[in-house]
């Protein structure tokens, strides 16, 4: 049954998924490992949705921080910004996203900005794939449009 489910999920999703449900994957090519993500919440899908909503809300600011640090050739800022995003990607179950952020983190730490220039588009691409995978898994909560600066009620 597990193999059948894995096959159906792979056919249904456009992005790579974990090879076997129920087993967390360390495979850095897996964009979204739903079982690993649920493992972090003890199987609580509502909590996972909340985490993903936070991730989506913060994502643009996170990538902007990375880009700003990269443009300024500020290795320490790049390392910290990529590290923070890496933690978030690990928490929501994206080995491929985590790997891309980790490589940027190391590039920042080592001051290898030319490498970081090449790695940044990879990260952005993986984040795009992650969006698709989360949508396929029906874990994306549509955000209501609201005026900038308006207080939540």
């Amino acid at each position: 049954v597990d193999d059948l489910l894995a096959t159906v999920e792979q056919l249904a999703g456009s992005a790579p998924v974990a090879p076997r449900p129920g087993v967390a994957s360390d495979d850095a090519t897996v964009i979204f490992d739903e079982q690993a993500a649920l493992g972090h919440t003890g199987g609580d899908r509502t909590l996972l949705r909340q985490m993903i909503a936070m991730f989506c809300a913060d994502r643009r600011a996170s990538t902007r921080r990375i880009k700003t640090a990269l443009d300024a050739r500020d290795g320490e800022a790049l390392r910290l910004a990529a590290h923070s995003l890496k933690g978030a990607l690990a928490a929501i179950g994206s080995p491929a996203g985590r790997q891309a952020a980790a490589e940027l983190e190391f590039a920042g730490r080592d001051g290898q900005f030319e490498a970081a220039d090449r790695l940044y588009p990879v990260l952005v691409d993986r984040l795009g794939q992650l969006d698709e995978a989360l949508a396929t898994a029906r874990l994306l909560t549509r955000q209501r449009s609201k005026k900038r600066g308006r207080k939540r009620t």
Partner: protein, 318 residues
């Protein structure tokens, strides 16, 4: 602190949940935990899990915020991230140690570099865990960290990636801490090699602590882990009188080749737990296994393939 986002402990929520919680959760209701992490997803999920376990949780967004919270309130445990803006977790640990603030700290990290781990050991973090964690693991870790007797300090003599040297009290708790650190030293090796090294190291360490140190916390075992491009070496010296391999009737290694499990009968008669295969396994894993004359000091050597990545050696990298 202006930027503090620490929230008040959720004691009301925790105590409200008392009636529906298991006894273990009720016992932990008064325990206060500070989560320090710059990633709000991590703070959120850890808070939810710990609150469900009956703990009162506060959060801090970085090291500066954490020190502010620790000055304002008493906490039973701090879950501390390492890399954060403004002040790192390692700097928080150093500050706590310098100010003699007595609080138990579990270091959480996605960065398992030896340098990070060893700084955490040097500043007396009591546990080191990898993020993210499953809820059961998190609750077990927190419970053990809070309930265990106050951990004895481990002295870090050398924290170089190619030469780690530690002086460790002879307790099971200290052995577990060291085992966790050593297991993270060789992240570039294949998993099966790491596993066999971990088993061998644990066996040698437990022999030194249990038999050499007699599980006496006043006794110390000295451990060195050396790494070159082609070799890993463990050297473990215990304070005991040493042993004679011919008298090890309770161990498989002391038996004649034709009767390798004769020791099991001896162990049963002496009331020793089943086992006794440790040194035999170590001998099979090791490429070299040398004892000093008293046999209270052992050197374990494992040769590696030349192509494998090694940590920077002193003088090669600036």
């Amino acid at each position: 602190v202006k930027n503090s986002r620490s929230k008040a402990p959720t004691g009301a929520k925790a105590s409200k949940a008392k009636g529906s919680k298991a006894p273990a959760a009720r016992r932990s209701a008064a325990r206060r935990i500070l989560i320090v992490d710059d990633d709000r997803i991590t703070r959120h999920v850890l808070s939810k899990v710990l609150e469900s376990g009956g703990y009162a949780v506060s959060t801090a967004v970085d090291g500066v915020d954490a020190l502010e919270a620790l000055r304002a309130k008493r906490f039973d445990l701090v879950l501390l991230d390492v890399w954060m803006p403004r002040m790192s977790g390692l700097d928080v640990l150093a500050e706590l140690r310098a100010s003699k603030t007595r609080v138990r700290v579990v270091v959480m990290t996605t960065d398992d570099t030896p340098a990070t781990m060893l700084r955490a050991v040097r500043d007396q973090a009591i546990k080191y865990v990898s993020k993210p964690m499953e809820p059961g693991t998190l609750l077990d870790t927190v419970r053990e960290a809070i309930e265990a007797p106050a951990p004895l300090p481990i002295e870090v003599v050398s924290a170089r990636p190619d030469w780690v040297e530690l002086v460790v009290p002879c307790t099971h708790e200290a052995a577990d801490r060291i085992q966790a650190v050593v297991a993270r030293l060789e992240t570039t090796l294949p998993q099966d090699t790491r596993d066999s090294l971990a088993v061998a190291f644990r066996e040698l360490l437990m022999n030194a602590i249990e038999w050499g140190g007699r599980l006496d916390p006043n006794h110390k075992v000295r451990i060195a882990c050396l790494r070159s491009r082609r070799m890993i070496m463990y050297r473990i010296a215990d304070p005991g009188p040493g042993f004679d391999i011919d008298t090890l009737s309770h161990a498989a290694i002391g038996q004649p080749p034709g009767d390798p499990i004769a020791h099991m009968q001896v162990r049963e008669e002496k009331g020793i737990r089943p086992g006794g295969f440790g040194l035999l396994m170590v001998r099979q894993t090791a490429d070299e296994l040398l004892y000093n004359e008293k046999r209270n000091e052992v050197v374990f050597v494992k040769y590696l393939e030349e192509t494998r990545e090694a940590p920077p050696v002193h003088g090669e990298h600036v």
